[in-house]
């Protein structure tokens, strides 16, 4: 391993579809108004969630697999330069060609150039997060090259000129009737008698793409894993569209983030157990393809791999945030996230929605990117994502860390204390002493006045306005818990009507002691 001796460079952030056009609160506000979306999403996330729990509980060594997966990824990050060089050597030795891309623009240029070299103007595509991240389809279109998405959900989204809203089931926000209407409207030669039965719709997609698969000369894919010690790439899929693209064309161009490496073939045994169960809730996905460079007489003759940085090195530079790069894009975190379930994926703006997107997108673009700086706040910090994550990414901790980075970066920009600073100061004053809190709580009835007759506060002033932008707050209770408690129990000494249990006596004693400690 070579040691880096140069000057430490400043992080270089990613470009492409990593930014929202608008901030999360604005987008979420709009998406929350879409009841159909919420119904579709709720059904879908709950279905996958239940399946996942079931197949995960079948494995007696699930936690051990997570531990191994987490440690393998941590070791990949620590040894990334060395592993990349090892992978490059092995992939190249078997006839593959490697290209390096600093950012989205460079990656798009490389792919377009490779396609142009073949003389083709059409390519088939396997669903890939990396190519969505760099906006490859749009770029190719500008260059006069048509990219056909072949994954059913991606096809639906592409035909509808929409954007994916989930990393595993990109059309999760659409129901069968909507899909039938899209097919009838956009699919040339679609049978006008098409029903909204999923099997019928899937067969319509099969017929639509069959000719493309059989005649395509060039395919573009992503990769789920790259094994450094053998130079092998892996694509995990269900429909067989992946196999079609990876084996039938003459030229295969794969775009992959540098973080997707695994050190050894042996490590695959861990990840091929973690990934399918976490993502679709199956024991194993229907098809996985693995290829190592070029194989004589079997599969594409020209095999290219574009290794993408696009902000990954910047994410890696954040010692607390770097484990976001462990993500294997299983989507388990979004299926359990209460915020995702209500807002849907589009609200996050970036290619990466949900809890992982809330940390990965700002890490890749830099928290100073205005549109992404609100993402770390798009969470209730309930921790469900951490429990679900097969590689144990501590998403809640990184969210909190990024919030502090965001606050610091904003504070660095303005001199005057913000409303948030003032509010936090006040809260810390009140919360640091029981007496003070009691005093503040005396103001609760005022809140009821603000709420009006329906007992809902729909608009808060100043910085708190963001909170009420997409939700109402119930009016505060007439009295504080503290007052209620005092009234109901009159304390242990006075022997109130509801004789207190031992625990409550201790709680009261504790409160009193705290007040004394504060010198109040």
């Amino acid at each position: 391993m070579s040691t880096f001796l140069g000057m430490p460079s400043l992080p270089v952030f990613g470009t492409g579809n990593l930014h929202a056009a608008e901030s999360f609160p604005t987008a979420a506000h709009r998406e929350l108004g879409n009841a159909q979306l919420r119904a579709n999403l709720g059904h879908a996330t709950h279905t996958i969630r239940d399946k996942r729990l079931q197949v995960v509980s079948e494995l007696p060594d699930w936690e051990q697999l997570r531990d191994a997966g987490s440690a393998i990824k941590e070791s990949v990050m620590a040894r990334l330069p060395e592993l990349l060089e090892q992978f490059e050597q092995n992939f190249t030795a078997r006839g593959g060609v490697i290209h390096w891309a600093r950012d989205a623009g460079e990656a798009n240029d490389i792919v377009a150039g490779l396609i142009r070299d073949t003389g083709e103007t059409e390519v088939v595509k396997v669903k890939s997060m990396a190519t969505q991240e760099i906006g490859l389809n749009e770029y190719l279109e500008e260059q006069g090259i048509t990219a056909f998405e072949t994954d059913l959900a991606e096809l639906i989204v592409q035909l509808d000129h929409d954007k994916p809203s989930h990393i595993l089931v990109p059309a999760i926000h659409k129901n069968r009737t909507e899909i039938r209407d899209i097919f009838l409207r956009e699919m040339p030669g679609a049978d006008p008698a098409l029903t909204d039965n999923p099997a019928v719709l899937a067969m319509a997609a099969r017929a639509h793409l069959r000719r493309k698969f059989l005649t395509a000369k060039v395919a573009v894919s992503g990769a789920n894993f790259a094994l450094a010690d053998s130079g092998t790439l892996a694509v995990v899929e269900s429909e067989g569209n992946g196999r079609m693209c990876l084996t039938l064309p003459e030229t295969l161009i794969t775009v992959m983030g540098v973080e997707k490496l695994l050190p050894t073939w042996q490590d695959l045994e861990v990840f091929m157990q973690l990934l399918p169960r976490s993502s679709t809730g199956e024991r194993m996905n229907p098809y996985t393809s693995l290829w190592t460079g070029v194989t004589d007489g079997d599969g594409p003759r020209n095999v290219h791999l574009v290794l993408l940085d696009n902000g990954r090195s910047a994410a890696l530079a954040d010692e607390m945030g770097r484990s976001a790069l462990h993500c294997i894009r299983c989507s388990a975190c979004m299926n359990v996230c209460p915020v995702y379930e209500r807002t849907g994926g589009h609200a996050y703006g970036s290619t990466y929605p949900g809890p992982i997107g809330a940390i990965l997108s700002p890490l890749l673009t830099g928290i100073e990117s205005e549109e992404n700086s609100s993402l770390p706040y798009a969470s209730s910090l309930c921790g469900a994502c951490y429990d679900a994550c097969p590689v144990k990414i501590n998403i809640p901790d990184i969210l909190v860390h990024l919030r502090s980075v965001d606050v610091d970066s904003k504070r660095g920009k303005k001199k005057l204390p913000s409303q948030m600073d003032v509010g936090m100061k006040a809260a810390s004053w009140a919360l640091s002493s029981g007496k003070r809190l009691g005093l503040v709580e005396k103001g609760l009835p005022l809140g009821r006045l603000a709420a009006g007759p329906d007992h809902k506060i729909t608009k808060l002033p100043g910085i708190a306005a963001g909170w009420t932008q997409s939700r109402d707050i119930p009016a505060p209770p007439q009295k504080s818990f503290r007052d209620w408690w005092a009234k109901e129990h009159h304390g242990p000494e006075t022997g109130g009507t509801n004789a207190p249990a031992r625990g409550t006596a201790r709680a009261d004693a504790h409160l009193n002691a705290q007040d004394k400690e504060d010198g109040a």
Partner: protein, 211 residues
Amino acid sequence: MSAREDILGRIRSALRDAPVAPQIPRAYRTSSELDHDALIHLLVDRLVDYKARVCVLDAAEVPERIAELLADARSYVIPAGLDPDWTAGPHFAPDGDRRRVDSVSAPLTVAELDGVDAVVTGSAVAVAETGTIILDGSPNQGRRAISLVPDYHICVVNAADIAGILPEALRRIDGTRPLTMISGPSATSDIELERVEGVHGPRILDVIIAR
């Protein structure tokens, strides 16, 4: 500076805190204690769960079963290295008639494969716990395209090649071969999460487990 040097430099710079690669705890299972019969039983259960069709036979019964399964196929393809006994006998058409033979040296075109109704292959290893069959491109399994394009895949698994769990299976395989892992027929759940078998890959998978 080339993009390669630039990116590797950025990564090294990002790692200037010199994180130490941790020991990998491999306390997960690497073998199963299942006996021969239990392995077969589990594999059948898992394959059926994926809507594959399965039968368990003595090796001697395999050719007759294949002939039965192929009865409705107007044409079928086999890899040149398929066990000759499996498709020997009066039920099987001679080469070039109903039967096509594919090999690396004499491959069928994609269009020819598209015109074929069925394919018969062997397999390298199977994983009982996940219902997975692994093809590694050996001569009895052939090029990846032949088990992909025809609509109907008949796959013979030797009972001796069944591993209990994934780590056992992957340890028996050379990772640098062109590999296909198959768990049931092709399927999609993209429309309201309702599983539909058969999108682009074979719509029907018939597995014959040969004892």
